[in-house]
Symmetry: C2
């Protein structure tokens, strides 16, 4: 049971990015640019945006936070997206989700230049992923792929199980694994034989947001367990059921615990697993930086980008 440490994988990725950015900034006379558009002030979004800004700063990516009031009309938001599409200082533009419910998020995402869609949520980029063409890969699944590569987990011919079918994680993850020649099954809330499905999988990617739903009894010995869930536990009996002693201590200190979708006891049966916290969660922002850099390279005409 080897933990796949987000920090370790990220460190290597960041070092590589930093080197490239130093070199490119000299060569091309400007750093990669990332604009983050935030409408209204959702508290969780605010802290995500902050961590994105910090990462960009650390790597030498020029990032700008553009804020619009929560009561902005669709036309106002689209006007801002248009401005960012056209502004050559930005290689990547990110529209922070969720948008206020008064706005049609799809309409706004559709309006983003797919060549600047650093989140990879534009239909063009999701479609290109399906047909294995060069596009932009959504950050969380891409981060998982990089972790699998870092730990040299073989994928071709393996049984991969994706739990969850969101367009942010589950569906693009399934496409990525399929493109790497895994046999891929997607399970979800309507799946009737989940335990049976999990028991046959060589690789499990759990992304449903249900604390500890994959239990030790379900998993195949030696499986690779990737846990995308980040669940906030505030009840003691839940913490007792779902946490190992260390995290339980933390629960007692802080009054809450963080657990994944996979019960930590299951990790003991795994060959490799991603801890929660400290696993997949550390990769998403890192891949946003990688995507920004890739879009910059394409804009600058760097070969093979």
């Amino acid at each position: 049971m080897i933990p796949m440490e987000g920090k370790v994988v990220r460190k290597g990725i960041y070092a590589e990015c930093r080197d490239k950015i130093v070199r490119y900034s000299e060569q091309f006379g400007r750093a990669p640019g990332l604009a983050v558009l935030m409408v209204g002030d959702n508290e969780a979004s605010g802290s995500y945006v902050h961590s994105k800004e910090l990462a960009a700063k650390k790597l030498g990516i020029a990032s700008e936070l553009v804020r619009l009031p929560a009561e902005s009309s669709e036309a106002e938001v689209l006007r801002e997206v248009r401005r960012l599409n056209l502004d050559e200082r930005y290689d990547g533009v990110l529209i922070q989700l969720p948008l206020p419910k008064t706005l049609d998020a799809w309409c706004i995402l559709d309006y983003l230049d797919p060549g600047k869609d650093v989140d990879g949520f534009h239909p063009v980029n999701l479609g290109k992923l399906v047909i294995q063409r060069e596009g932009v890969i959504p950050c969380t699944p891409y981060g998982i792929l990089r972790m699998l590569e870092h730990y040299q987990i073989p994928l071709a011919g393996k049984q991969a199980l994706v739990l969850g079918r969101s367009f942010i994680v589950g569906r693009p993850m399934a496409s990525l694994l399929l493109n790497r020649h895994a046999t891929v099954t997607v399970c979800h809330s309507r799946t009737t034989d989940l335990a049976d499905q999990i028991s046959r999988a060589d690789i499990v990617v759990a992304a449903v947001g249900k604390a500890g739903m994959v239990t030790a009894e379900m998993v195949k010995p030696g499986a690779v367990l990737i846990d995308v869930g980040i669940n906030h536990i505030s009840r003691l009996e839940e913490a007792q059921r779902l946490c190992l002693p260390d995290e339980l201590d933390r629960f007692e200190e802080r009054g809450y615990a963080i657990t994944g979708d996979i019960h930590p006891k299951a990790f003991e049966k795994a060959s490799y697993y991603t801890p929660v916290p400290g696993g997949v969660g550390m990769m998403t922002v890192a891949m946003l930086m990688v995507n920004t850099l890739t879009l910059y390279e394409r804009h600058m005409g760097v070969k093979g980008a």
Copy 2:
């Protein structure tokens, strides 16, 4: 073992289309229009195109075949696509594949207006399928879905197995089944436990182009078997192995036989199956007509189209 007859399903679809087209043509003053762009003269393409023209004519869809010489440059083809994109008489534009190898097919498909992409191969439409948004569904998987609906095959919570991962059939089929709440597995040439996978599936969609590769021993009794393969058999021993007596008689008359990817003996174990020929193959052109009509309805602002 009930055969799912392409002819029967198609008949209902065509009747519905014809009624709508008569009504709309009166209401809006023009029939739906379909342009088929063919570059060069591939013989197989020619006969497909002919069957599309016949179907359009039968339903009252105005179809035009636009031919360009095989030696056309990319710029010339793009110019023609642009003209068809802008021509308001055409609701659907189809670029007949394969294109001559001198041309970059993706570049040309990307240039097609996604709102006229009647084949559903534009990345925008493939992406919209992934995220369950209104787009255009590729004809063969859409035809299979309509057959499943016609025979009232339940999909939610069922184990569906898609054999093959092409962007024309396998991948969009997997998305469609997932959107209908099936648990979906995609298998392909690199899958290591194919027989085992097939044995657990409630619904098998075989789209690999390997005659008789799904055998009777593999399938679960009562499964629904959808056969997309159309394989041309010209050797007697193959025909003897893969054909039932009727098709074998035809082999002796014509010197060839047509078989699917599923061995006909497997159909005997199925609850429902699509015969080859006479099953899925009859649906593709029909769904092209349905897609043309849907695009027409959208252009005309018909509600719910």
